[in-house]
């Protein structure tokens, strides 16, 4: 049985349609990445899963008593709120100090217990958030652009940690990211979202799908096979995205050549 199963989900904010007829599922132990341009409804989708946004229609079905660990996009702690890492980790009732230590070790940041949350570096902060999400031994980990604000080596290391976590704990992972080249290699499945599910499949399949190319251009395929853009392809959406098929002689080609 799937841990999360979404059927024909529609979400709108005040008549403004964000998600249209989205169906997807997450099975135990798999890593699924959702990619999509800004405003494609990625965060709305995660909010619907945790129950923060009510769908207009469709259903979000979670496995009964599903334990979810959540790593938010960017957590701003007001400077007027003093809180140590330990206190933050123990906000969930019944968490012991030993559990905090274990979770912090799993997330790759032992010895931070007594530090103030506001004194952590970006990378340390996101790892503490990861540790916090792991503390209840969740079956599903949800990550919403968890590496925003980290530099490239930092986010690569973070995603390696995520893979390690999956190996160690066996939890399924659903994450949103725009760092395609890093994320794609670590994922079992990729779902390309732009208001609706454009295409999905293994990273290689998605990276060569015309819908994906239309959204992200050809430069983001990373180590994947060289791809010549197909200009016959018509995609029925507006794409206000940097890379596109409008300029065949743009950087995309150079990037491809470099790779």
């Amino acid at each position: 049985m799937s841990l999360i199963s979404i059927q024909n989900l529609n979400i709108a904010y005040g008549g403004n349609e964000v998600l249209r007829n989205v169906s997807l599922h997450l099975d135990p132990g798999e890593i699924v990445t959702i990619v999509g341009p800004n405003g494609s409804g990625k965060t709305s989708l995660l909010r619907a899963i945790i129950g923060a946004t009510r769908p207009v229609s469709g259903s979000v079905t979670l496995k009964p008593r599903l334990c979810i660990g959540y790593v938010p996009q960017r957590l701003h702690i007001d400077p007027t709120l003093p809180i140590t890492v330990e206190r933050f980790m123990r906000l969930t009732q019944g968490v012991t100090r030993a559990q905090c230590r274990t979770a912090l070790e799993t997330a790759g940041v032992p010895d931070l217990l007594k530090r103030q949350m506001s004194n952590l570096s970006g990378g340390q902060f996101q790892r503490v958030m990861l540790a916090h999400a792991l503390i209840n031994r969740p079956e599903v980990l949800l990550l919403d652009e968890a590496t925003q604000g980290l530099d490239q080596p930092g986010s690569a290391a973070f995603y390696q940690q995520i893979e390690q976590v999956r190996q160690d704990t066996g939890c399924a992972i659903l994450m949103i990211s725009h760092e395609l080249h890093v994320v794609m290699s670590a994922s079992d499945r990729v779902i390309c979202l732009n208001g609706h599910v454009c295409c999905e499949g293994t990273p290689a399949v998605v990276a060569s799908a015309p819908e994906y190319r239309a959204l992200f251009g050809t430069g983001t395929g990373g180590a994947l096979a060289l791809y010549r853009h197909d200009h016959d392809h018509h995609h029925d959406h507006d794409h206000h995205h940097g890379h596109g098929h409008t300029s065949p002689n743009s950087n995309d080609k150079t990037t491809e050549a470099a790779e």
């Binding site: 995660l46 909010r47 945790i50 129950g51 923060a52 979810i68 660990g69 959540y70 938010p72 957590l75 702690i77 007001d78 400077p79 007027t80 709120l81 003093p82 809180i83 140590t84 206190r87 933050f88 906000l91 969930t92 009732q93 103030q116 506001s118 004194n119 949800l142 919403d144």
Partner: protein, 265 residues
């Protein structure tokens, strides 16, 4: 011992300080200072209604404060920026309240007593209401403490842990309405927000955890109440404002002491 008006006043001030401390921390953390102000200003309308209907001022003030807080929560995010909305509602409520009081010509009302408090006139039954209310507020916030903290840190985080941030917000709103109602007699509607914010803000530099900040805020609030009343007695100054003055002086002193470690933020 309760026969002495100074003892009763001191106990009333300390009671309000205890209720205001944990609530005030959330007001500061959630940036609700103006929200607290609006709710408190609305209470003057509640006072006018209570006098007109000859009901308990505590109940009237609390009722109107609650309605005000709910209205703000409902209207939030529907067109106007929060500070505009609060500016409109807070001052309108105060103006309508003052106009409503002027209609009550049959009764002679000392308006100043409700605007700035009348702590020296606290009776035994007032004391009972104040401490009853304070215990309610502290219990309510203590019960929801972790959930409120989680919801304050991040809405999505709260949802993912199975909490409903909107419900937690409601608990804060109720606590705020009770605090406003019990604090009218002590500092008056215009200075209630000061009792919420100043001790909590003063405690920030001394605290490493949220709990410590609430505890230290309670201590600072209580010291302000005691010292403010003594000062008022000594120099024959108005009691409510004197309490707030002491809190403000403590705030300034603690901030100057901690200036060198400001980098720790």
């Amino acid at each position: 011992m309760l026969d002495d008006f100074m003892t009763r006043a001191t106990l009333a001030g300390v009671g309000v300080a205890f209720a205001a401390a944990p609530l005030g921390c959330f007001v500061v953390w959630r940036r609700m200072a103006y929200f607290g102000d609006a709710t408190a200003h609305a209470a003057i309308l509640g006072v006018a209604l209570s006098l007109a209907l000859e009901m308990s001022i505590f109940a009237g003030a609390m009722g109107v404060a609650l309605v005000m807080a709910m209205t703000v929560t409902l209207l939030a995010g529907r067109g106007y920026a929060m500070d505009t909305l609060l500016g409109v509602l807070a001052h309108s409520a105060l103006a309508f309240g003052l106009v409503a009081v002027s209609f009550l010509s049959g009764i002679r009302i000392d308006l100043m007593a409700y605007l700035f408090g009348d702590i020296l006139a606290v009776s035994r039954s007032d004391l009972l209401v104040i401490w009853g209310g304070a215990i309610c507020v502290v219990t309510l916030i203590g019960w929801r403490w972790s959930a409120l903290l989680t919801a304050t840190l991040n809405e999505e985080l709260a949802y993912a842990s199975g909490l409903n941030p909107k419900r937690e917000q409601l608990f804060l709103t109720v606590a705020l309405a009770i605090t406003v109602a019990v604090a009218i007699k002590v500092v008056g509607v215009l200075l209630i927000a000061a009792m919420l914010i100043i001790p909590a803000a003063a405690a920030r530099g001394l605290a490493r955890t949220p709990e410590a900040m609430a505890g230290i805020a309670a201590a600072i609030g209580a010291i302000s109440a005691v010292a403010g009343l003594q000062g008022a007695y000594l120099f024959d100054t108005p009691a409510g404002p004197s309490i707030v003055c002491v809190a403000a002086i403590l705030f300034a002193a603690l901030n100057i002491l901690h200036l060198p470690n400001r980098g720790m933020r």
